[in-house]
Symmetry: C2
Subunit: 316 residues, 2 copies
């Protein structure tokens, strides 16, 4: 068998997922093992290499067929060097991951951040398959983003391409400070955290709402209440949707993608949320920048990272 295969590795705080993809972006095999965070840096590195070898050994493919190994990880990364500058969840700060793994595996290695690889995964083998360009919004604890044009990530000068959660989009008069230190970032209103904060604020000030137990509230409960007619919850959802749609209208005249893809936990709210986002997008986006452009749900779920990590080798 001379078919080329692509190995992707999605490194999380507790588990490392590895996968084998075909040249078409189909996920053929996956394997998951513990990260080994508590055992330190060397153990994590050994696990990454070990799992990558193991999934190929246990598959019908040979190591010779592997085009390379791609890695997705949360943090700030020098993508050209594959150097991890800072990793929020793992003891991998200042680790030259690409160099170490290339020496260990004798294969090309590429490293990128989790939001970017998820976007590349959706572009290659998910909801963005076959389109000219797509932008992924991952609505979770924060708002992640990634932009793929003609199969390639827009990484940016210092790796900040597609950092859509930190687009300053909320006007000054209603802006709050983001965790990044700046005012009015998209993720202050459109992440799960933002939605929960708005629910908390509304209940705290005594707004008339069915929302309760706000100390433990989840974004899903806000969406459920909104669907059931709770006006406070509807206002919160509208505000989250408004700024996503408005940020998409902005992205539409910057990179003018063919498709916007929405993933992450908050996207489970489905069409109820998507319809509101589309309405705002259509209102604000330049007509010619919205022609033929759609806004759809992500398809790969938790596999986007491993598929996209494998896809980092496509330009190798």
């Amino acid at each position: 068998m001379s078919e080329t295969i692509y190995v992707g590795v999605d490194i999380g705080g507790t588990a490392i997922k590895v996968g084998i993809c075909s040249a078409k972006g189909d996920l053929l095999h996956t394997f998951e093992g513990p990260t080994g965070t508590e055992q330190g840096t060397q153990k994590i590195l050994a696990n990454i290499a070990g799992y990558a070898r193991r999934i190929v050994e246990e598959s019908p493919y040979d190591w010779e067929q592997v085009a390379g190994v791609g890695i997705g990880i949360a943090g700030f990364i020098d993508m050209a060097k594959g150097f991890i500058k800072f990793s929020p969840n793992l003891p991998l700060d200042n680790v030259p991951l690409k160099d170490i793994l290339e020496a260990e595996l004798n294969k090309k290695v590429r490293v990128n951040n989790d939001a970017n690889v998820a976007a590349l995964g959706e572009a290659w083998g998910g909801a963005g398959r076959g389109v000219h360009s797509c932008v992924l919004y991952t609505l979770g604890t924060g708002v992640g983003g990634g932009i793929v044009v003609n199969g390639r990530l827009i990484e940016g000068f210092s790796g900040m391409g597609g950092e859509l959660g930190h687009m300053s989009i909320v006007p000054d008069l209603e802006a709050i400070q983001c965790g990044c230190g700046k005012m009015g970032c998209l993720e202050t209103v459109s992440s799960a955290t933002g939605i929960i904060r708005m629910a908390h604020d509304a209940v705290s000030r005594g707004d008339r709402t069915t929302l309760a137990d706000v100390e433990n509230i989840m974004a899903k409960e806000v969406f459920d209440a909104a669907k059931n007619g709770d006006e406070v919850a509807q206002r919160i959802v509208s505000r989250a949707a408004y700024y996503i749609g408005k940020s998409m209208a902005t992205v539409a005249v910057v990179v003018n993608p063919q498709r916007f893809i929405i993933g992450g936990g908050v996207s489970k709210a489905g069409e109820f949320l998507f319809e509101q986002i589309r309405t705002v997008f259509h209102k604000y986006a330049l007509d010619k920048a919205q022609e033929g452009v759609d806004i759809v749900a992500a398809e790969l779920g938790n596999n986007a990272g491993v598929v996209g990590a494998a896809g980092l080798l496509l330009d190798a």
Copy 2:
């Protein structure tokens, strides 16, 4: 002589400018002739081809050294096909310009819009020379834009990449309708037209200002009044600068360019304007997306178009 040269053509309503560029983006020769608009489509096409041949004939170079001919023109263009869908100033609607000129000149031809070629010109041979990526804002009657990453234009799915003037950036409560039909576009406040409109509004409602003769006022007079301490004029300039800076903070987390370049007539206001833009940019842009990023003046002036048009052949 085996050196490869690049021919650029900048088509305006009254004049066509052609130029020869070296492989480094240096403009070696230029020639300008009438467009021939009043003589119709065929005459314009003949002029383009004729001027392109003529500049090479009159230079020390041979036609064999020409890598191709690039064309910049205002309008909506199918860039892949080099097809002009709509040209606001010329009788070239629905003209397959690339096909016609390739047949006529027996060279590769590329066509793109004026804002994009200006950005490519600055990136290749102007203020963006040698940087990873740059974004050009052209502040004139409208606000034009173009984005170049690793020497290539971000054209977008339908050619709307870098249409920065139509970024909906002004909040609803203070937004007005743009010529494009949408609300709150950057060019409603940060173009010469926007600045003049704000001056006109201020005088009409009786604001205390030294601005006068607003029917014939130019943006320069507003800048001069602001520099001389006129508070109304200062407010207008601040507002124009604020939204440019804020839009740059947005672009910084979408494509994360290394350099922002400002050209066009309004940019002649110089550091007085640029300093205000930088202050806003630094306030709103994600810290890591502004590290090492600068905001500078364009360098090529009216030659940006012809240089950038020639640069369209770089990826040929």
